[in-house]
């Protein structure tokens, strides 16, 4: 499962060494800027920045390749915008993509791809436990207890999701293979095949959730307070990166 979307790739680059709070903050700022961009040229700048950061992270093209499973979603987003945006029709047909739709579809799809890539860059250069610790520290000052949760619980939920999303995908694959080997017509009828897959996957994930809850309880998980193996310390470099990101974001937004 190495190289899976959003999985961590061990390394010693500058990006690996940055405080997770700085990286989370930077991804949030970049997301705002990407959403504010209305020209493909602007997005090209973010794409080039991503390539530069990927080289800096030393993770090569594995991050880009890991996005491949999401290709059908990108195509779907592009087609939806291409066909359902009003404008000048591309072909002389009743159901034709429009020039405006193609432009909007490209823009939205590239934005979406960039968001996924930057998210993937964050998770590939940061240990899941460090992301969890970072999120917990970001959420700690918020009055979450008033709504019945703690920052520790939120962080644990995210940490569990980071492990169980790939695991559930693997589990669904196992069930799909087992159904195919028993004559399921999944390939010929993907809709009913998906339905017949969903029920055992849901049942299995419920049982797994129950088992995990019991294992967590038996390891003294209470949710109200925890410490972390990874102690977070802001260095001068972290403050510098944070200031640059904040400065650039403010400049682009208000200039």
């Amino acid at each position: 499962m190495e190289g899976f979307l959003f999985s961590y790739v061990a390394g010693k680059s500058i990006l690996h060494g940055l405080d997770p709070r700085v990286k989370i903050f930077s991804v949030m700022c970049l997301s705002i800027l990407i959403f504010r961009s209305s020209a493909l040229v602007d997005l090209l700048v973010f794409a080039l920045l991503f390539v530069g950061l990927t080289i800096l992270a030393g993770s090569g093209l594995s991050g880009i390749r890991s996005v491949r499973p999401l290709l059908p979603i990108f195509v779907f987003i592009f087609l939806i915008h291409s066909f359902f945006t009003e404008g000048a029709a591309l072909f002389n047909s009743q159901f034709s993509p429009t020039y405006e739709g193609l432009l909007k579809g490209s823009l939205v799809t590239v934005r979406f791809i960039l968001l996924i890539l930057y998210g993937s860059l964050l998770t590939s250069t940061t240990r899941p436990a460090v992301i969890t610790a970072g999120i917990e520290r970001i959420l700690r000052p918020l009055p979450l207890r008033r709504v019945g949760v703690t920052s520790f619980e939120m962080a644990t939920m995210m940490s569990l999701a980071l492990y169980f999303v790939p695991h559930l995908l693997w589990y669904a694959g196992q069930i799909k293979d087992s159904q195919l080997s028993r004559g399921s017509k999944y390939r010929r009828d993907p809709i009913s095949g998906t339905l017949s897959l969903a029920i055992p996957v849901l049942k299995g994930s419920m049982r797994m959730a129950d088992d995990v809850a019991m294992a967590m309880e038996s390891r003294c998980y209470q949710g109200n307070f925890r410490t972390s193996l990874f102690e977070l310390k802001m260095t001068a470099r972290d403050v510098l990166v944070c200031s640059i990101v904040l400065g650039v974001t403010a400049l682009v937004l208000y200039a």
Partner: protein, 269 residues
Amino acid sequence: MIELKGVSYSYPNGHKVLDNIDIRIEKGSFTTILGDNGSGKSTLIRHMNGLLKPSHGVVSVCGVDTASPTDIWKIRQTVGMVFQDPHSQAVGATVEEDVAFGPENLALESDEIRLLVTNAIANVGLECLEDSLLMSLSGGQLQKTAIAGVLAMVPEILIFDEVTSMLDSDSRSQIIDIVRQLNKRGKTVVYVTHHMEEALFADRVIVLENGSIASDGTPRDVFREIYASGRKVPPHLELAFRLQDAGMISPDVFPVDALSLKEEICPSR
């Protein structure tokens, strides 16, 4: 260390799983609980660290009642439990993070957690895999990670719930070796299995049948009883009992594996 007095347990639908169980687990002992599927083994051990509370009777760990809500976390730290499915007890993304989960819950300092994690990982021989993603590990390595996760909390008692049932034979023997080593280093072990061969290494074997204790004693006595009742025992043990009945080897002989029996019959020089 662990004492169950008159423990019975029924599910909310009224189905009785345990019926009037009395067990005392001594410090430093190695107790195996044997039984078929549905005999109540897992339900029984889940009472031993307070995951389940008895419908009737009392369970105490080091003199503390598991029903006491204020002491439950101390009890769970004292009694570590490793479960059957290695995938369903992982909570971290990497080996190191998963092992650290317990000490993090105990709110220890980062340096202390690091030390406990390093020691626990070394105890199960996963030193070179500490940064590995759990998704990339084999079933045996995952189960070792789960054992390390429990060891990192420095429990006095370790409970293993059919930990080898989903593993291949090599991983199975490695896990059994780890369990035996831990017991030799002073940990009290309660080992649940339905593989009879795994019960031969214990000091004591308890056989559960339909939620009641059917046999309780040394492996020699319990397996003799099983053999005498006409039920299957491991093949090398059956051979040893037959040879004993024929007066060909001493009745004191209790071979834990085929090799030990061979040594009894024709010792190597």
